[in-house]
Subunit: 325 residues, 2 copies
Amino acid sequence: MAKYCVGIDLGGTFIKSALFDHAMKKLAERTSPTPSTAGPEGVVEVMAVDAAELIRSTGLDRGQVIGAGIGSPGPLDLQRGLVIAMPNIPGFDDFPIRDRLAQRLGIPAVLENDANAAALGEFLAGGGRHVSDMVLLTLGTGVGSGIVINKRLLHGAHGIGAELGHMVVEPEGEPCGCGQRGCLERYASATYMSQYAQRLIEAGRPSSLDEPLRRNGLLHGADICIHCRAGDAVAQEAWSRAVKYLAIGCVNICRILDPDRIVFGGGMAKAGADLLSPLGAAFAALHWSLTPPRTALVLAELGNEAGVIGAAGVAWEKFGTGVSA
Amino acid sequence: MAKYCVGIDLGGTFIKSALFDHAMKKLAERTSPTPSTAGPEGVVEVMAVDAAELIRSTGLDRGQVIGAGIGSPGPLDLQRGLVIAMPNIPGFDDFPIRDRLAQRLGIPAVLENDANAAALGEFLAGGGRHVSDMVLLTLGTGVGSGIVINKRLLHGAHGIGAELGHMVVEPEGEPCGCGQRGCLERYASATYMSQYAQRLIEAGRPSSLDEPLRRNGLLHGADICIHCRAGDAVAQEAWSRAVKYLAIGCVNICRILDPDRIVFGGGMAKAGADLLSPLGAAFAALHWSLTPPRTALVLAELGNEAGVIGAAGVAWEKFGTGVSA
């Protein structure tokens, strides 16, 4: 009898869940608002009800569903299946989300951090499929990341590897909330790129970004991209600066990991060729000359589906015989 | 009947070889001068004669020796077993060293680059034993490196990973022979640290290093260490600068790979606590505050034995059932 896995992407706003077969074909999906005032038990209840409904609606026997994977924001204790704390949802204080869901659902569960789950999703079904070694960089509020080496997620010895947004790319650079200085995400995330443009404007530089800044009180990554394309010098400086540091990050990823691909997701990646074209040029210019650049820089393909697909993939790896996609 | 492997460390000056059992216990070893004017066939001849003599002297049957591992300077084509070129020895032009040795010896052979072999050696029997994830940094003429993840060497998708000496740690920094700027090895290798001290002296800074510089025409890493300990300001500045960039490199290794240990070998590591003590302090100061530093910084333990042990380890992984040490 065919086997299936559930993937659950626990976000601050929505809980997405879906049911997949061994080839990562999606049979059904659901999206529910995250009950952010109902505490961790309320969150587990929504996850369990949605998963049960996915199984019911597809007419499967519960015994055919061999596991559920949960992708969650952190910090997490992956080995013990705990959410140490949850941004924006009080009550997650070393909460055993994995075991509570498994109990409530009667199906084994596994916990993974959301960035790793998204990387596995892109690896299994998106911008990283058909390769063995892949890095996902998600350029949004911060720079999220996941690493796949020899077809497996890299977790590190203490479960805190693959934090590429906190690679130092500028000694004595901008202070980061993590306590370091000069982290990649302080230069290359949509948020900090936008803040840099705002600083230039506040220092008196004339810019067409002045209008959205006055209207919204802050700038978004999309503002920078649009005004950059329209030729605004401040937007171009901010975009180029982010691209330069991103290229340094990519060079370092190649020197250390030498992946087949670096996949770009998140808001800034929506710029498409406006990101990849200058990034590819900067990467080639900064790359060593001992070998030509062979690591491909590509766009993510799954959007916000990556997390739920990757969460199911984690369940297949844990409880199944792997994914045959 | 017990099985054995041969490890061969092909260096520019000496060829070291040794015979190991499955627990990496050394039964016999030999060292011969590298016949640098005899061409690649002459090099293979020495390797084969030494390996045969190791087997003969221990009274083993050749059938008990299941493989030979060769650790070689590069560039190499690992998959095809070729030495693309050999520094200081002419004639290695895509030379099939692996297959020629296997033919000559009648035993299967495998090729690995010398830095990776040394990392595997420290992992199996030195500063990285008893852990799963380890990085070796060899601080000498350059900064050599090898990475072990989940007990396996990391090669990368194109066989050029684990080149940590060419991680960019200073954008628009010192130009490196590799074509990049600001590579770690331009700041943290014994050679470039010594050159930096020399530059300070040539710019007119008074220093007790003036004496060895005039005597030898250049400075060595050991000069910097000795004069640093004696309180010379120029030596201290050069040493601290190398340590600072090495600490940034270690932070980045933790953010990306999160290993159990970073192991330091090569000439600069002979300084022992004079390296580890300031490096540990700089590492802790630069490390993020989200988690305490858990990656241990330790000294290599095998000296120039690491390569021959690791070369045998590569053979065990390829032809045996792994190492049970």
